[in-house]
């Protein structure tokens, strides 16, 4: 199996007033085609920098980022993005928001086809009937659903998500995990998910990558050996519990804290 995303020994530092601030220090990551890679790590460890590297919005100081056998040097049309902030364009309807990437990536596509494609996804995430509403008329969870549709409307090879569910309440978040799982079953894409939520990483991920504290390097990779059509209940069973425990320990190490509990 080939790796769709291949990140090799990436180093990067931001230039600040107090000199260079290293954020990535030997980051490795490989995600096979169609796999879901969840990335966890302490706050401020450079996870968001990772998303900007994979999307080509930023070039690393050293090291290589490969996407589909090509070295990433600039943004490409085969990537979709979703952020914690759903970034809805308030002057457009939900449907028009979802169609936005198509206007850039497939300008020759007819309006009817664009609408059909957008509608297809909106139905998948349960937003049928809301397509002509403005974003301000929707709840946070619904906006995030629309944002997911927009991220994959142009059938990107890679979907990059930077804490997309971070601002939602727990139940809404679990709903969206299941939406995400269903979307993947219907629309195959390779995915990198940045998250702070270990349960989320285990529920959605095929592999979970733990980054060390800043400057980040790949500290630990966990293979999630759960069935693809997992349900939320799985998280309350022993196998997932052990994985969560392992991840928790790794995070503690990443934070530079020793085992202190008795």
């Amino acid at each position: 199996m080939t790796n769709l995303i291949e990140i090799k020994d990436v180093h990067h530092a931001y230039q600040t007033a107090n000199g260079p601030l290293p954020v990535l220090d030997g980051l490795d990551l490989s995600v096979p085609e169609g796999e879901f890679c969840a990335v966890v790590g302490p706050s401020g460890c450079g996870k968001s920098t990772l998303t900007r590297l994979v999307t080509g919005l930023m070039k690393p100081d050293s090291g290589e980022v490969w996407l589909h056998g090509e070295l990433v040097k600039s943004p490409r049309k085969t990537v979709g993005m979703a952020f914690q902030n759903p970034v809805m364009l308030e002057w457009r309807t939900i449907m028009q928001n979802v169609m936005l990437p198509l206007e850039i990536v497939a300008p020759s596509m007819s309006k009817a086809d664009r609408e059909k494609r957008a509608m297809e996804l909106l139905e998948l995430v349960g937003l049928a009937g809301f397509e002509h509403k403005r974003p301000s008329e929707l709840s946070g969870g619904m906006r995030q659903r629309a944002s997911l549709c927009r991220a994959i409307v142009h059938k990107p090879q890679v979907l990059i998500m930077d804490e997309p569910f971070g601002a939602l309440d727990n139940f809404t978040r679990e709903d969206l995990w299941q939406t995400m799982r269903d979307l993947r079953a219907k629309e195959p894409f390779t995915c990198v998910l940045i998250t702070h939520d270990l349960r989320e990483s285990v529920f959605l991920g095929d592999q979970v990558v733990v980054l060390s504290g800043r400057p980040a390097r790949t500290q630990y990779v966990l293979d999630v050996t759960l069935p693809a059509d997992r349900t939320i209940d799985v998280l309350y069973e022993q196998q997932a519990g052990q994985m969560l425990h392992t991840l928790r320990d790794q995070i503690r190490i990443a934070q530079g804290r020793e085992e202190t509990h008795a």
């Binding site: 999307t55 943004p75 490409r76 049309k77 936005l100 990437p101 990536v105 927009r150 142009h154």
Partner: protein, 251 residues
Amino acid sequence: MRKILTPLIAIVVFLLLWEFIVWVNDWPNYVMASPSDLPEAYARFWKLFLVMGWQTLWRTVVGLLIAVVVGTLIGMIMGFSRTARDALYPLLVGFNAVPKATLVPVIALIFIGQHDFNTVLMAFLISFFPIAVSVGIGLSTLEPEYRDILRALGASKMTIFWKIALPKTLPEFFGALKVAVTLAFIGTNLVEIVSPHGRGLGALFKSGETNANYPLMFAVLIALAVLGILLYYAVVALEKIFAGWAERPQS
């Protein structure tokens, strides 16, 4: 109905109060005109009001249109380039702080006899500042995520501007335009009054002053206020069309 009635009642109350204050103080109309003096002034000079009012109006609107174009351009430059922002801000603020009345003789000397041009120029000079600042701030405070969703797809800067930055800045732009409308009227009348050339409501005001016709002077002021209100609501109507989405439903 309520939307029209409420401001109408407010205007009537204002006029009554004005009439009352003049009446209580027993001011003759060569000290302070009262609303009841105005109909006579309008009846006598209505032709002049139409001609002069039109002259004031078109020059204000043209000045305002130029201010929109130039102000937006300056705003764009300041919004996209930090260097331009650092360079232009002190200049703009300094220029805006100069009392525009002092510029009237300067302009009148540079462009002698070009009265229409001078008037339009002043309307423009006085009103472009808020537009430039608001567009500049709107563009420079665009959240990076908004740019990134298009940039990650390889969209050009121009595409990002048309699809995201410009529409997102529209509410601020219209806010500034409302301020600019009234400023532009001040600019037009400044030239018409300080550098009289027999045109516009400002000139009519001046002739009222020369002839000690106080009711006429007040009638001019009211006419100016009416024009200002008209143009303001024209902007509000445009705002409803182009930036109506920014209005939140009231709860």
